[in-house]
Symmetry: C2
């Protein structure tokens, strides 16, 4: 059994997905789409990326209600060169736009070896890994970039002007699970600070955060009032700057602090989806077998003192999914209460099981 | 005047370029190509990225002599979908392959809005930024990925199995210089350790390196015998893993420790070049003006205590180029001596001025 914190309950994944689908169905998201959305969201919980799972449902509900997220997808094609398609999402639900966009990129990659789809005027789309993995499941390589609300300062600065813009890449293996990178530009996510604070921590390791004057801090309260530290200092800043330009400026979507967040209105973010057809480069089987070999070589390589296992990118999340599909997803009772309050408000059946 | 260390001389950029061209011309690199190669190399010195400049010339000379780098470019097209082209570089000089490949990606982007070129069986191509910047100079967005010899261990491991695989992205601005990201996955380059050691340092900041057992170290000798630290710990590892797969496995080039290095023979690296035509997404002027605004907003934003200026990615290198074009490039006399020794060996005129 997986370790579970006090105040958590194990929820069956299919049950949770059906429940989330009912919630969004009750808010006007059409049947199939409400289930697709529920799958995107609960997949993050299965992978153990709970920051992008059902914990965000109350926020999405609020966004649908205040018109930040349109429950019925409206999407228009702004430009189409064949391999490259530019879509306008008209503030529809990001997850549903992203799924369609990646599917389009994959179809174009089947035809042109590479397919690229940009989406502007989208909204929060959950975990980037989900869409990259769609490509890997079809023997393609998927890449996803998105921008988002500002949480980072420029390196040397102290004003939040840049989003924590994730880059996801998924590669198909043969017998091993797909390799999946999904990495944003801060050393730790903001949620890691609030989680530590909730558990009574007063200090954090140096290198996680800066205080509001831009100086490194070990004080958790200073960090919470301050700034997250970009990975590799100026390197993480440079990546966040450039990825924000690609998703925001190039796609004519929102940029940095102009992007709509929970705290303030604004413009929707932009996403970029790329798919490469592995078969164009050579036999698919050869690629997948070589990736298996690479994974196994790295897994079997000498470990640092005190390290039990070496993981490949995406392996921890894959194992979490396998375990949680079998045992259930541990969720805090407070969150479950909030979700069931929402269900009563929306007048759909509460979470069973 | 720029600050200069003892034991350095200022060398005129045009003079240096002509000299490097003569050297490679003397080794059989044809006239125009020898000048192109010299420009790629000395451009890194102009930008202040001296790790990728003329300091590498003795190594390239050795590689040409031992057959690791073919002085006359041979390149064949392995596959061509229109927007995506796969080239085999037959171990030709990486810089010359990269320039041609990016030019092809840009021509394809003019036709298809996106152009992608993969090169396998290449060799070291210098600084990735150079090729990304080619696209920005023509109102396109350039992206470059390459892999290289293993310098990093997997996260949790202690065997060097992964290259420090740079990602470069260049974006065209209007009145401001182009934004250029060129970032590898280690906190510091190996050269930074040797540089510190040469200057008598005995310790380094925690977080730069691991000792050979994989533990964090502040001891410079332990670090030099040990491992470079990836940015964001597992995040940098995951990026290095995935980028190595894209350039190595997908392009059927060398991967990780199988890639040829100065110390051991092996297979050549792979490079991936992407170009996006900005005009496809909307008016080029609008994009470039918005990027100017973004740069100026970030530059003018509040600074951390003790910080004099906030730079955008590529700005420090741009200012270095402007200054060094005017004042000359500072180079260690020991390196100049080595280069002139090579010139005498190859029987071409020594560095003048």
């Amino acid at each position: 059994m997986q370790p579970m914190a006090a105040g958590e309950r194990l929820i069956d994944a299919a049950n949770l997905r059906a429940f989330v689908g009912r919630l969004f169905g009750g808010l006007g998201v059409p049947g199939v789409e409400s289930l697709e959305l529920a799958e995107c969201i609960t997949d993050a919980d299965l992978r153990g990326v709970s920051s992008h799972g059902v914990v965000r449902v109350p926020w999405y509900v609020k966004d649908i209600r205040r018109g930040y997220m349109r429950p019925v997808v409206e999407v228009s094609t702004e430009a189409d060169s064949g391999p490259l398609v530019l879509l306008d999402g008209h503030d529809s639900i990001g997850h549903l736009l992203a799924k369609r966009a990646m599917a389009t990129a994959m179809r174009r990659a089947t035809r042109f070896a590479v397919g690229v789809v940009g989406v502007r005027r989208s909204s929060h789309f959950g975990a980037a890994a989900y869409y990259a993995a769609m490509a890997a499941a079809e023997d393609q390589i998927g890449m996803v970039l998105t921008n988002g609300g500002a949480v980072l300062a420029p390196w040397g600065g102290r004003q939040k002007l840049l989003g924590n813009t994730p880059l996801a890449v998924a590669l198909p293996a043969m017998e091993e699970p797909p390799v999946i990178l999904d990495s944003a530009q801060t050393v730790v996510a903001h949620g890691k600070l609030t989680y530590a604070k909730e558990r009574g921590a007063t200090t954090i390791p140096l290198g996680w955060a800066l205080d509001s004057s831009g100086q490194p801090t070990e004080d958790i309260d200073e960090a919470l009032r301050g700034l997250l530290m970009p990975i590799g200092e100026h390197k993480g800043y440079a990546m966040a700057f450039v990825f924000d330009c690609l998703c925001g400026l190039l796609l004519n979507a929102g940029v940095g602090e102009a992007i709509r967040t929970d705290e303030h209105p604004g413009v929707g973010p932009g996403h970029l989806f790329l798919a490469f057809d592995v078969g164009f480069f050579g036999p698919v089987e050869v690629f997948k077998r070589r990736l298996d070999q690479r994974i196994r070589q790295i897994r079997a390589s000498p470990r640092s003192a005190g390290v039990e296992r070496i993981y490949f990118p995406g392996e921890i999340e894959h194992e979490s999914r396998v375990r949680r599909l079998r045992e259930g997803i541990p969720l805090p009772v407070g969150l479950l209460r909030n979700l069931n309050d929402l269900a009563r408000e929306i007048q759909v059946a509460e979470l069973g099981g």
